[in-house]
Amino acid sequence: MNGFARIAPRLHIWSAVFPPTLRDEALWVRSFDSWTYVTLAPVRTLLVVRSNEDAPAAWAAALDNDGVAFAAIFDLHRDRVYRHALRMTSNVHDAEDVTAATFLELWRRRSSVRVVDGSVLPWLLVTTTNLARNLVRGLRRYRALITTLPRCEGARSAEDVALDRIEEMRIATQVREALVTLSPSDAALITLSMFEHYSPGQAAAALGISDGAARTRLHRARTRMATALGAFSTAAGDDTTKEKSR
C-alpha cells in the first residue's frame, strides 16, 4: 500500500428526524476523519396491514405515493372484491378483470374516494358493482393493460365454474339481472346493505347521501329487487313445470 493507505474511518451513525411513518429511512454515516459522506441510507419499513384496523394508515401512506402500501390495501380487500365481482359476473375471468379495474380505479380516483369508518372497501364494492353492470364500458379504460396480465396455465374456464357451482351461478345470474333493473346508486345500496352487510348509515356514507335518504331508497330498491327476483323465480318455475309436463 506504499505507506499511504487511508486509515479506515471510524463510523458514526445518526438517524434523521422524520415523521413516525418514515422513521428509520434515512441513515447516513460520517467518519471521524475529514470526510463527510455516504454509505448506508434509508431503509424502507413496510406497513403491516393485517386487518381493517390497519387500513387507515395504509390508505394514508398510499395517498403519499407509497406503492407497497397500496399493494397492502389490495391484499387486504382483493378477496372480498373478487367474490363480489364473481357474484356479479358469474365468470372467473370477468371477475378478475373487474377486480383489476376496480383497484386501478381506486388509484385513479383516489382524491375523491369516500372512506367509510377508515376503510375504502365500501367504495371498492360500489365500484365493483358499477363496473360489472356494464363490463364493456366499465373496463374499456383498462382493457389493454388487463389483457397483458398473465394467468395460470389451464386457468379455470367459465364452464368449469358453471359445472362446479351451478346453483350459485344461476342465483348470481338472477341477482345480477335484477340489479341491472335498478339505478346505479340503488344497485350500490343493495350491494352494500344486502350482500355485504353494511348498515344503512355506512352505505349512506359510502354514497354521499343522507341516512334518511339511504333508508328510503333502500326500502324502494329492496322491493324492486324482490319483484325482479320473483319474476325470475316465476319464470324458472314455469320452465320447470314445462320440463315436468313433457
Binding site: F4, L11, L40, A41, E96, L104
Partner: protein, 269 residues
C-alpha cells in the same frame, strides 16, 4: 383451485402493476418531495456538500425493504443490558432496533455502530433522540445487547423483520446505479445535494478518488492534501453523463476554505 380465489398468477401480476402505477405517479411528484425534505438535510450537510442516501421513501434501486414480523418488544434499561426478544418468527432475517437515549452517553448497537447523546440532545423531543439500526440475526440468538456506561439510561424498541434487498438498476452505459447495500457499491451511488433540492448519482470511482482512496505516491498524497480545501465531484442523472450538480467532500470552512473540482487535481485516478 378454488373458484372463490383469484388466479394467483394474475393476482401477483396485478399487484406489481398496482405498485408500479403508484410509484410512477410518485416520480412525477419527486421534485416537490425533495423540496419538502430539504430542511431535514440542511443541518446534516454542514461540512460536506451533500449526503449519499439509499432508498426508503424514494425507492432507490438496491435499497433494502423490511417487513416487520411479530410484536414490538419495548424495554427501558440503565447501563449495559441484554433484552430477551423471544424466539424469532418464521421468515425473520434481521432485527430492527430503535434506541432512544434518556440520558447523556454513548450507546453501542450490536453491529458496532453507536449513537452519542449530548446534554443538548436530552432536551429534544424523543424522536430527535432516536437512532435506528437493522442488524442481521445470528442463529440461535434471540436477545440483543446494548452497551453503554453504567449510569446511561435508554429505551429500546426491537422487532424481528424480514429484509429483502432490491436490485440495482443498470443504465444505457452498463453502469449499475442505486444505493450501497450488503452486496457492495454500485457504479453510481445515489446522493442528495444542494440542501436537498437535487437528487442524483455520483460515480463511486470519483468518490473513492476524491476521498484519497486511490493515492499511491507521495506526490499524489500532497495533491490530495485537504487542509483548508474541499474537493467537488459531479452529480449525474442516472445516465451517468448528464451533470446536474456537484457533491463536495471535505470539512474545510472559513474564509480561506476553497472548493476545487476533482478534475483539476492530479491524483492518478
Amino acid at each position: 383451485m378454488s373458484t372463490t380465489e383469484m388466479d394467483p398468477v394474475f393476482t401477483a401480476a396485478l399487484r406489481e402493476v398496482l405498485v408500479a402505477t403508484v410509484e410512477d405517479t410518485q416520480r412525477v411528484r419527486r421534485r416537490w418531495r425533495w423540496r419538502l425534505r430539504a430542511g431535514v438535510f440542511v443541518g446534516l450537510t454542514l461540512v460536506g456538500g451533500g449526503v449519499a442516501l439509499a432508498a426508503g421513501v424514494f425507492s432507490l434501486p438496491g435499497a433494502p425493504i423490511d417487513t416487520p414480523l411479530g410484536n414490538v418488544v419495548t424495554a427501558a434499561r440503565t447501563g449495559t443490558a441484554t433484552i430477551d426478544l423471544g424466539p424469532p418468527p418464521a421468515g425473520a432475517t434481521d432485527l430492527s432496533l430503535t434506541l432512544t437515549c434518556l440520558s447523556v452517553g454513548t450507546f453501542d448497537f450490536p453491529n458496532g455502530s453507536s449513537v452519542n447523546c449530548s446534554a443538548a440532545d436530552i432536551g429534544q423531543p424523543p424522536v430527535a433522540r432516536q437512532a435506528s439500526e437493522v442488524v442481521p440475526l445470528n442463529p440461535g440468538v434471540d436477545s440483543v445487547t446494548i452497551k453503554t456506561s453504567a449510569s446511561a439510561t435508554w429505551t429500546l424498541q426491537a422487532q424481528y423483520v424480514n429484509r429483502v434487498t432490491t436490485h440495482w438498476r443498470i443504465n444505457a452505459s452498463g453502469q449499475t446505479y442505486g444505493v450501497q447495500n450488503q452486496n457492495g457499491t454500485p457504479d453510481l451511488m445515489a446522493v442528495v445535494v444542494d440542501q436537498g433540492k437535487t437528487q442524483g448519482y455520483i460515480e463511486t470511482s470519483e468518490l473513492n478518488c476524491a476521498s484519497g482512496g486511490d493515492v499511491k505516491s507521495p506526490a499524489q498524497a500532497l495533491a490530495w492534501d485537504t487542509q483548508n480545501r474541499n474537493i467537488s465531484i459531479p452529480v449525474y442523472e442516472s445516465d451517468g453523463t448528464t451533470v446536474i450538480g456537484t457533491f463536495v467532500l471535505g470539512d474545510a470552512t472559513g474564509p480561506n476554505a476553497q472548493t476545487v473540482p476533482l478534475s483539476s487535481l492530479s491524483l492518478g485516478c
